[in-house]
């Protein structure tokens, strides 16, 4: 089953730069590997990852087969207001996972 883990500090000062780490469980099959009988294993990867802060997109990235299995993406954002950060992964074969993390800004 598709799972994802995100690490967001629970509270932050206003204007502080917070570090966010995300990890999605996914094989990231490249589409270049073959089975023992020589058949190409079809590509199955996560194509995009986006992070929205209270509905406003703050980070987005496009992934390619060269990203290792179980993609780890770490980035930063400015803690502007209390609310929720939502993370979305989307990929081949209809793969979508959404994860939500609350943040309290003081």
């Amino acid at each position: 089953m598709a799972r994802a883990v995100v690490t967001v500090p629970a509270r932050a000062k206003r204007g502080e730069i917070v570090e966010i780490k995300t990890l999605a469980q996914h094989a990231m099959e490249t589409g270049f590997r073959r089975t023992q009988t020589g058949e190409l294993i079809p590509r199955d990867i996560i194509r995009t990852f986006t992070c929205s802060y209270n509905g406003v997109e703050v980070f987005r990235c496009d992934l390619h087969p060269a990203i290792a299995a179980n993609p780890l993406i770490a980035f930063t954002t400015v803690a502007t207001e209390s609310g929720t950060l939502s993370f979305q992964w989307a990929g081949d074969n209809g793969y979508t996972v959404t994860e939500i993390a609350p943040i309290r800004v003081e």
């Binding site: 590997r33 290792a68 993609p71 780890l72 980035f75």
Partner: protein
């Protein structure tokens, strides 16, 4: 009037080339070089790329190319007027040159990303940052890979 058969043939013809292009035999050095140049053009357009401001961090020697920690930091104040718009990471010898493309903005606070990548061979990895003023900056890192990713493909 287009018959159902004609329609199917036409749509199949329109769809196939894109899929095939991505799967051209990546083992040929010439193909890989051309793919890298094409990826570079796609990122840069006609703009010139300057060295500096970007810092690409990769271990110089890697035992296993299947999971290599990579981080990119760009020296930028990340304000509304002057920030990093995008970061692209490209490789020379992977079957596909693109690794990751990131879209950032002033809300990122710091122009930094960290991830884990696959490397098919000992090669040079390039990171390119696009600034809000339209300039491009880059950094490259030489990486020695002892056990490559995609080994079963005979990519070495």
């Amino acid at each position: 009037m287009t018959t159902r058969r004609e329609f199917l043939v036409l749509t199949a013809a329109a769809l196939v080339p894109a899929a095939v292009e991505a799967q051209v035999d990546p083992n040929l050095a010439a193909n890989r070089k051309a793919a890298f140049q094409a990826a570079l053009r796609k990122v840069l357009g006609d703009a010139k790329v300057q060295h500096g401001r970007v810092k690409l961090q990769l271990p110089p020697l890697i035992d296993n190319g299947n999971s290599v920690p990579l981080s990119v930091t760009v020296a930028s104040p990340m304000t509304e007027a002057d920030h990093v718009k995008a970061i692209h990471v490209l490789t020379e010898k992977n079957p596909l040159p693109d690794v990751v493309s990131v879209a950032l903005g002033p809300r990122a606070g710091r122009a930094w990303i960290s991830t884990r990548v696959r490397l098919a061979d000992t090669q040079t990895v390039t990171a390119i940052a696009q600034m809000s003023d339209g300039s491009f900056w880059s950094d490259s890192a030489e990486v020695v890979v002892t056990l490559s990713a995609c080994l079963e493909e005979g990519l070495i």
